[in-house]
Symmetry: C2
Subunit: 181 residues, 2 copies
Amino acid sequence: MIKRPSSEYALLGALMTGPRHGYEVNRFLGETLLSTWQISTSQLYTLLKRLEKDGFLVSAIEAQDTRPSKRVFSITQEGETAFLEWVHSPAVHARDLRVEFLAKLFFFEHLSLKGADKLISAQTQSLESARNRLFHQRKDEKDPYRDLVGSFKLATLEAWLSWLENEAAPYSQMRCNPDGI
Amino acid sequence: MIKRPSSEYALLGALMTGPRHGYEVNRFLGETLLSTWQISTSQLYTLLKRLEKDGFLVSAIEAQDTRPSKRVFSITQEGETAFLEWVHSPAVHARDLRVEFLAKLFFFEHLSLKGADKLISAQTQSLESARNRLFHQRKDEKDPYRDLVGSFKLATLEAWLSWLENEAAPYSQMRCNPDGI
DNA sequence: AGAATCATGTAAGGGGTTACATGATTCG
DNA sequence: CGAATCATGTAACCCCTTACATGATTCT
């Protein structure tokens, strides 16, 4: 699977519940993912156009009487596949947690997907292995500055691991599986 | 003071100890700040050119017998002023901690500057006020997803505050003021 | 009457990346 | 003899942002 710019997945996710035109997608993202993922209006239209060019969306113009006509986008099979693969995979780089991982959790609830617990444990494992690698590196780190940098990364990783356990896991249990099945 | 792209300050800092040509700056950054700040070679030359155009650097070509001639850059008064202002100011956005704040600590030691403790306490105050703002916002946050996002940001801020206290502060005391004066 | 909403875009620029080009010298 | 070092750049592309353009309609 070719890597695509991550912001496109926000748009694919917004179209997973059915066709929408650009303005609606924009409003939807503003109401739900604003605290996580900010996509400017002009960028939104650019991304939609590119996603259609690449076969992840198809569009049709819809005329209106009293309003400007609008271009309604629908997600294709290929688009759905790409979105579902993305949403089930942990963020590869730790720096993608804040935006991408949080957005994935959002879509799990918004689309009533199952397996949020699996995503969380996969993400936990990914961060744990990063932490272990860092731990080893730091053992024979002579340079005090690089050691300080290591301590910063380590502190961040550990905070995020705690957050995954104490906040993300309970949230997903409550929201994505409210009856405890 | 007009805001400049932050990666330029790495170059200004590299020239604070005296004139260097591009290749040397590149090597210096690769040996010292690689774990923090990655600047590609081509970008380096672009930045040096722009810094000269804007009056922060001046350059002179130096011919060599057995080697390609090189362009040696020196920092101007304006450049020094800009660098010193930058290096003494805390990172405005929390996301700039990883790169910019760590780099500032590096330069404090590398250039034997005084006042690293002041920078650290200013940065601490900045993060604390961000944490307090977030704390207030979260009190009347009804939406569970936005609350989760808030908990992530809070966890990150608190980890960094601890790191400032337990790692950065001792490091700067040891490195920038080894005799405890 | 003026502001907000609906609706879609283009243009310009900013900061960054990778790939490519050149060419001598010195090291293994 | 080939690889790494020295040394400087250009070209193309990528993602993104801000500003601008348009124009009807509905709310205050």
